[in-house]
Structures are given as C-alpha cells and as structure tokens.
C-alpha cells in the first residue's frame, strides 16, 4: 500500500520557526507553558515542512494553543476538535495534524468524538492536557477530577467516578498512548516525537498542573519527595525498573502486577517484566495504564504503540482502487450511466 506521508522540510528548522507573534495568555506558572515549549522543541525535530503542520483545538485553556504556535491553526468549538481534525486529515492526508485538548473538552462534551477518532485510528496527534479541573470557567470538577474533590460545583466533594484517560483510550481500541508530566520537558518532547512517528491516532496524556483551581492535584505523583517511588518511566525493550536506585521493579504475579525489590526474597532482574510497546494485544498495556499509587507507580513514556492501518490511508487506498477500476471517470460518465434514453 502506498504511504501517504507528509512532505519533509528542505531546510533545517528551529524552534523560532514555530514561535507565534501572539502574547501567551496562560496564567504565570501554568503547566501549559512547558507543553508549548515542548511542542516548539519537537516540531523542528520531526522535520516536516512548517506549512504542513496544522494545529486544531476545541475550547478551554488548553485550546488556546493554536494561537501560540506559528502553524496553520484552527481554534474551534467546545468538544469538537476531534471531529474537525478528522475532516482536516481526511481531506488532506499530507498534513501533520496536532490537536490540543483538555479533560473537559475531550472527556466530557467531546467524549463521543474522542472515542471515535481513536477507534478509526485517523493519523492525528492528540495532546490531552489533564489538569483534572475546568480552568477557563473557573474551577468546576471535570470527568477526571478525583472522587471527593471539593470544587466550585462540588462543595461537599464530587460523587462521580473519574475516568482514567488511558483506560478510555485503550478501551476505544487506541493504538498509541503515552503519558508525561508537565514539569518534564525532556519527557514530553520524547513522547511527542514518538507520537509523530506513529501512524494512527496518538494520544499523549499530560498531567498538567492548574496553579489556580487545582494546584498540586498531581502532587502524589510529581512532588520531588514522591516522584521516584511513584513514577516509572517505561522504555521499550527494557525491564520495568524504578525507584531512586532503580532497585524496584514490576512483576506479573498471576493476573496482577506487583512491585518487587531486586535482591529481596531472591528476586533478580530476570523476574522483572520487559516493556513491549509494540505488542498488539492491549492486555498488559491496559494494566500499565491503570497503575497508580500507593500500591503501584504511575507509568510514563510510551505505553502502547501498536501498528494498525490508519483510516486516512484506507480512504486513499479505496479512492485509488475505485479510480483504477471504475468506468465512471468524470461527471459526464456518471450522468450518462445506467438507463437513459433520447427524446427527439
């Protein structure tokens, strides 16, 4: 099958090629600044022509993103970025389409479009800013807000079970899922690069801090004293080790994952699972996506990257086939096809 790739830049690009002239209006200290910086880092590295990048967003703090990068951009309406991006990519498969969205935009109002773009595996890179709160409307709980959280619309604490985005994505037959934290630009840049390389819908969940309405919401995972024990950075082909001295690891015990310590109770590195992001079966990827403290560390890096045909490639393939095999080559052919008759 022909590959409908994006044209590469003839010149080497730099971060400056993607800097917009617009004032960035996120709150000082917002995690979104670091995400913007990571995108500006990674776009020149990806190497496509700068005109071939297209950034689409919905509504929310995250969705102001297109104004802050100098690409073709579309800041749309609440929840619909996935549907608009789909049209952009299907219409022109030679674009590298990126979508900026948040937990409200994609998990609530846009939930339907979000699961269907993933199911179709349209080649789009989705950056999901998960700050577990509605920021732009000033502090209401979102579908990812931890149960019991006190927010403007849950003065006694939320009584809703939150989504774990990774579970939702894999449940929707996601082919690519990665996770990163907004304080780690290197990690974000790395997974964004991997997302760009992946053919199909890539979702990157970024644990983002909203300094105003949900400050330290991810502290259990990101704070300096806890992060070594509460984060594991997965690398394809490498054992799942973590902790300050990489002395802890993940082992499959029966049907469950568990944390073990190297050297304790006869555990060696051979007992530790080795990460395979390319595994087609999503079973282990789902278990990894679900891991969270206190019993297990949260997984970061590329959790899943499975190869499936993309919707946009299949569209082009069907059109190519139809053009080669159909007798209808133009509108005159179509208008005169089937039963027609002349009236003198």
């Amino acid at each position: 099958m022909e590959n409908y790739t994006v044209e590469r830049s003839k010149v080497e690009l730099t971060k400056e090629d993607f800097v917009s002239d617009q004032m960035v209006k996120w709150c000082p200290g917002c995690g979104a600044h670091a995400i913007l910086s990571s995108v500006a880092n990674v776009f020149p590295k990806i190497g496509y022509r700068k005109e071939n990048f297209c950034m689409v967003s919905g509504i929310g703090c995250s969705s102001r993103f297109p104004y802050y990068v100098n690409t073709y951009g579309f800041h749309s309406i609440h929840g619909r970025a996935a549907a608009i991006s789909s049209g952009v990519k299907i219409s022109n498969p030679h674009l590298s389409v990126w979508m900026a969205t948040g937990d409200g935009d994609s998990m609530a109002i846009g939930g339907n479009h979000f699961i269907h773009i993933i199911r179709r595996n349209i080649d789009i890179n989705i950056i999901l800013f998960n700050n577990q709160i509605y920021g732009l409307t000033k502090g209401q709980y979102s579908p990812t807000t931890p149960m019991g959280s006190v927010t403007k619309t849950s003065p006694q604490g939320t009584i809703e079970h939150p989504f774990n985005p990774g579970e939702l994505i894999l449940g929707a037959q996601g082919t690519f899922f990665a996770r990163a934290v907004d304080t780690n630009v290197r990690m974000m840049t790395e997974v964004m690069f991997e997302a760009a390389r992946h053919d199909g819908t890539s979702v990157i969940e970024i644990l983002q801090n909203c300094i105003i309405f949900a400050d330290k919401t991810h502290a259990q995972i990101t704070s300096k004293d806890l992060r070594d024990d509460h984060q594991i950075h997965l690398k394809n082909g490498e054992p799942m080790l973590f902790g300050a001295g990489k002395t802890k690891g993940i082992r499959l015990n029966g049907t469950r994952l568990e944390v073990v310590e190297i050297g304790k109770d006869g555990i060696t590195e051979d007992d530790i699972m080795v990460h395979d992001q390319y595994e087609m079966d999503p079973g282990v990827h789902l278990m990894l996506a679900k891991m969270s403290p206190p019993h297990l560390p949260m997984a970061f890096g590329v959790i899943r990257s499975a190869m499936y045909p993309t919707y946009d490639d299949l569209v082009e393939e069907q059109i190519r086939y139809a053009k080669e095999n159909s007798k209808i080559k133009n509108m005159d052919d179509l208008l005169n096809s089937g039963d027609t008759w002349d009236i003198e």
């Binding site: 579309f74 309406i77 619909r80 549907a83 049209g87 952009v88 059109i319 008759w341 009236i343």
Partner: protein, 617 residues
Amino acid sequence: MADKKKKKIIEREDVVVKFVGDSGDGMQLSGTLFSDSAALAGNDLATFPDYPAEIRAPHNTIAGVSGFQVHIGSSKVHTTGDQCDVLVAMNPASLKSNLKWAKIGATLIVDADSFDDKAIEKAGYKTNPLDDGSLEKFNLIKAPISSMTKESLVELTTDNKVAEKSRNMFALGVIYYIFNRDFDTTFKLLDAKFKKKPGVAEINKTVIKAGYSYADHVEALASTFEIPRAKMEKGKYRNITGNVATAWGLLAAAERSGRPLFLGSYPITPATEILMELSKHKSLGAKVFQAEDEIAGICSAIGASFTGSLACTSTSGPGLSLKSEAIGLAVMTELPLVIVNVQRGGPSTGLPTKSEQSDLYQALFGRNGEAPVVVIAASSSANCFYFAFEAAKIALEHMTPVILLTDGYLGNGSQLFRIPKMKDMPKITPPLAEANDPNYKPYLRDPETFVRKWALPGTDGLRHRIGGLEKENIIGTVSTDPLNHQLMVDFREKKVQKVADFIPEQTITGEAEGDLLVISWGGTEGAVLSAVEALQKEGKKVSHAHFSYIMPLPKNTAEVLKGYKNILVCELNSGQFVNYLRMTNPEHQYKQFNKVQGLPFVVSELKVKLNEILEEK
C-alpha cells in the same frame, strides 16, 4: 406480447397510478418498473414512494402499508398527483388506508385472495369490503392474484414463498395491460437486475405475462388507457430522485470548481440516500465520512473546508438542530460549506417519513449571535441537481455556509431529468490565496463582495489561525474590541446580502399585475403552479411567483410584489415564509394558506383556496 382483445382505448392527458401493499410486497419495485416503462414510452412523470417508518411492521396491518405513486402525462407533469385513477391494493390494510386517495370511479385492482377473515379484521374492517357494497362507486377488479401467480409458476417452481414474492409482478402485468405497455424494457431491466439469477428473472417475466393475459380476459376492464407521448425538450433523459440529484449536483460542483468533494454526514431519514449515493462515487474522488453523530458530520466538513475541500453535510430537521453551533463556527470562520436539509415533519422526531417545509425559520435564524447564512430551496426532484450545484457555487465563491432546503417528497420522489453536459455548467472560481502572497491577511476582504481569501494549509507563506472567537478586522487576531465586533458583524451580514447581485431575478408566471399573486417556495412549486395554470386557463387574473432564493431574496422582490389586489403565500408550515416576507417587505398585506399534515398540497385544495380569495369582495 399477447394478442389483445378489442377493447375501447381512452386517451388521457395524465393518469395517476398507485401501488399499495404490505411493506414486503415489493410495491416499490412494481412502481419503479412501471415508471421506467412510462418514461421510455415518452411520457413525462413524477413518482413518490410512500413507506412507513417501520422496516417491517406487523404483517397485514395499516402500520405496515407501503406504497408507490406514479403520475404520468402527455404534457409537463408538475406533481406526483392528487388522487389516483388506478389503485392496486395487495391486501385489505393497504386498501383501507389508501382508498381515500382514489378518485370516485377509479379502477381498484385488489388481490381478492388476500381478503381472508383474519386479514380483514387486522385491517380494521367489520365486513369484507369486496362484498359489502362499500366499493360500488369504484370499478372494482377482484383479481385472485395470489392463486393465479402460484398457478402460473407450476412449471418453474413449487416454492410457495417464491410465488408469494412474485405477486407484485402479476399486478404489474395487469397494469401493463391497462396502459398498453409492452414488456420489452421491463424485461431488459429484470435481466439486468437479476443478471446472476436468471431463474428469478424468468419467474418475474412469467408472472407479468400471466397478469397481462388475465387482464385481457376480465370483462370489467372494458377500456384501456393511452397516454400520448409528452412534448418534451429534445435531449437525453434519465429518471432521478431528488436525493440522487442533490448528490450529483455536489459532485458536479466539485468537478467544475476543481475542489475535491468531502461529505461528513450521519444517517437520518429522509436524507440518508445522499450519503449512500456519494459513498458510491470514490472514482470521482469523493471522500465520504460517515460520522459518529450529526455534530461530527458538520464539524468534519468544516475541517475539510479549512483544508480546501468542497465540504458538505446532509441531514434532516433534527440533525440541523444539532448542527446549529457548528454552522455558527462556519459563519465566524467564513469558510465555504454546503448544508443540505431534506426537511421532514417536525418538531422533534416528528414525522420522519413525511414531508414539510417547517425548517425555514431554523435555517434562517436557528443560531446564537448574528449569524447570517445563504438559504436556497430546490423545487423539484430533478432541479435538486441544479440547486445543489448552485449552493456549492455560492458557498465556494462567497466563502459562506449555504443551507439548501429540499424535502422528503423531493428527495424520495423521482422525475425525468434532462441530462446536462458538464461543459455547459458554469465554472466555479473559489477565491484561493496565492502562495507567498505578501499581502495575505486572513480577514482582508474583497471590497466589492466582502469575501475573504481561502488560504489552504500546506501552502507556502500563508500560515494563519482562524477560530470561533471574534477576530480583528483584516489581521485576524483575537479581538474583543467593541467597535471591531460591530464592524465584523456588519461585514458578515453585508457579505451574505451581496449574494443578491449574483443570483437570478425573481420571475413571475402570468401577468405582472392582476387580482391575485400566489407565492410558493421550495417543494410546493408543482402543485401551486398547476393550480394557478388551471385558473389562468379559466381566464382568471392570477399569477404565480415561486421563490428558490430565500436569503438573500432576489433584488427585484419588492418590485414583483407590486400590482396585485391580493397576495397569497402557500406553504407546508404555519406561515414561516409569509412572516419572513412581512418582515422583509412590510408594505404589503399578505394572506396565507398553510397545511401541516406531513402531506403535500393537492392541486384541488389550492384551487378552492385561490377561488375563495378571488371571490372575496
């Protein structure tokens, strides 16, 4: 063809035939075959399938009745016909629910075998209508269709199910006899349809012949009809439904504009056929996206429009409601977009398989903010082709969403369509921005048309951002400046109003002055024109203005409304267009004639209304 006994031949200008039966009885196929044969015999025609919302409602019930009406004529056929001259009823329920559509004296051909006690009771009859004298005003032919179909097939099959399924062909044979049609074209169509199952074609042909020869022996069929050839414009013709014509009009616009076609759509009655039809034409480069919902349908189209496609979405009333917010986005971003609304009965789920014109307000006004869009309406199944083309031309050349209103009757109905040559279709020239244009600005406008340029992602030197937030004039950055907002609101309105310079002037059928001007819009043109023409023949001073361009109205609208004692606006809603005229042209008194029953106008009721107004002192 069998030798025919000498019977009286009655020449008729036009005839309406209706086939009705249970939804599995194959009425649509009988109707289609008959209309094709009529077209080939040189008649003009219009057809309408009348099917229930249920796929297979309980057998022999009123809910499960499916019908197909064919109006054929020796002159221009404007409508699918008021009442029928011949009604073919395959079971008691279909007779009961359709008898009101038969003219007094009409020929009723019923499958007498289907009138058993159980079926009679299920249809809601107390006594057998074939025997109780209730049908004596009609020419009733009690044909034992089921048993004779079975009998005719003894040599070909013993499968009762096959005989049961072929009853429609027997009825068709009877109709062919009544209308002096030959079988050749139908047999060819059957051969083509059942290419891989020649046995099935053979069975159908045998049963048609059996029906024909049965009719030849029925004394009650003392006369047959002859419909002379219609005087039609020379050319090549085909039969086409409104929905297929709409789909083809969009494809034609894609070809003439050089922009690839993208349709984002979600299945909805009665618009789904547009989605299905375009799905077949990948060889013409059409990209068809069956979305997860109506919103994704239009949003994917907006994304495709941003990227340079001729982007379209097709829907019906409830779907248009769901698309409202996204239409506002297309207004704000000033992207070309065609929204086809095949109207049905509303509100809410309403009457999905029935037709209305009650989405006009929604099309004109159904959005938040000041959000003008162009609204046009097709008026016949065949001209859906030209109006779809026109909708795309306006959208692409004026960088605006265009709502094309058709309706269930136009969409599902069919008409003869004179095939155009693509080279005769107008060229479409979208205002594409040129690569590296140093003067390109997202909201820099053409000073005449107020149209902004279309800069496609991927083009060198034109990177820019658009979105739903208000933008600063010319440069396109986000702006909340009060005066800028006023300016942009005014520009968007002026841009849509300016389209009036590019559309045809309003025409009148009849004199420019008189006692009565009858106004219609959209799918009611045929019925209203027929009524007006009938009164004109009687010497009455009645004229007709049919509006296809609604927003904006043609420039000469105010002019054509002058000069009549009365103006009557006829529409299938509670008065949406008449109120729009009251708003836009308030200097006139308007009378209105409305019907909201999910049914089209019949010519007779319009004539009664028109005469009533003419007789007013």
